[in-house]
């Protein structure tokens, strides 16, 4: 996996799309909520990330029912979901190791 590990904003964007398809504004608000206001993306940053994720086939555009407002919804592709699972697995392993080390046990 060339692109792993992911940065926190991209990880949050992918997690936002993991539950359901979302359009841009919904992703921004969900990312802000998930990070307790710590990560607030600008539209420039969001669409730079979405462009790259689209190009890498991690996400795809889907037709939005309300297309009159220039909205486009996005969802994870199979590849994107698989990569997200790999990244979460890596983080779990890291967390487990960190907990063991902090507790003073050898892993």
């Amino acid at each position: 996996m060339e692109f792993l590990p992911l940065t926190e904003p991209v990880l949050l964007i992918l997690l936002s799309l993991a539950g359901q398809p979302r359009h841009g504004y919904s992703i921004l608000k969900d990312v802000e909520q998930m990070s307790d206001g710590r990560v607030v993306l600008s539209t420039g940053t969001l669409y730079g990330a979405l462009r790259r994720l689209l190009d890498e086939d991690w996400i795809e555009r889907i037709e939005e029912q309300d297309s009159s407002r220039g909205r486009q919804a996005y969802r994870l592709t199979t590849r994107g979901r698989r990569n997200l699972q790999v990244e979460v697995g890596r983080m779990k392993q890291l967390t487990r190791l960190a907990n063991l080390r902090i507790a003073g046990k050898q892993a």
Binding site: F3, T7, P9, Y25, V40, L41, S42, T45, G70
Partner: protein
């Protein structure tokens, strides 16, 4: 503040391909965010304005860099050599600090006005002290103009490099094919 019209103009900093693909969508999302920010305090609005302006300018530079063949410069994945912060954060502490500084400036000006009023004008009266509000507004407008001009200059440089073929240098290989 950053209006939809100004936002549309700042979008011109992006490569045409990016604008065609995401332009209308970005404007739509910005409109929703702007409507939400309108109901917030001044600090939050300034934070929103700075974040959006900085995000657009840096995003446009990244997209131009990528279109020149420079690849990603750390927007998404930290494995790249150059890593940039992909979000602009405006800490609340900064807003508090700015408020304190503003209060200090206002107090200093008021005291200055009081001193001027207490000193009798013998020969040369002290010049008019402009109200701090107009000075601040002027500074914000100048800031917008500065960001816009800096973005346009950056875009012009990248455009000139593209026209001159400099970007192709990165594609050249040291070994014969």
């Amino acid at each position: 503040m950053l209006t939809l019209n100004v936002y549309r103009h700042l979008l011109l900093l992006y490569p045409a391909s990016h604008r065609d693909r995401f332009g209308e969508e970005m404007v739509s999302v910005f409109g929703e965010m702007q409507a939400e920010a309108t109901g917030m305090g001044t600090g939050a609005q300034i934070g929103f304005f700075v974040r959006e302006t900085a995000g657009l300018v840096t995003g446009a530079l990244r997209e131009h860099w990528r279109s020149l063949g420079g690849g990603s410069i750390g927007l998404l994945f930290p494995t790249r050599r150059v890593t940039m912060h992909s979000e602009f954060r405006f800490p609340k502490a900064t807003a508090v600090l700015m408020t304190i500084i503003l209060a200090g400036v206002i107090v200093a000006i008021k005291q200055g006005e009081a001193i001027v009023a207490s000193v009798p004008h013998v020969s040369q009266p002290v010049g008019t002290i402009h109200p701090v509000h107009s000075v601040l507004l002027g500074g914000i407008v100048q800031g917008i103009v500065f960001f816009y001009a800096a973005g346009m200059i950056g875009w012009a440089i990248l455009f000139a490099m593209r026209r001159s073929g400099v970007h192709r240098l990165a594609e050249t290989s040291g070994t014969p094919k």
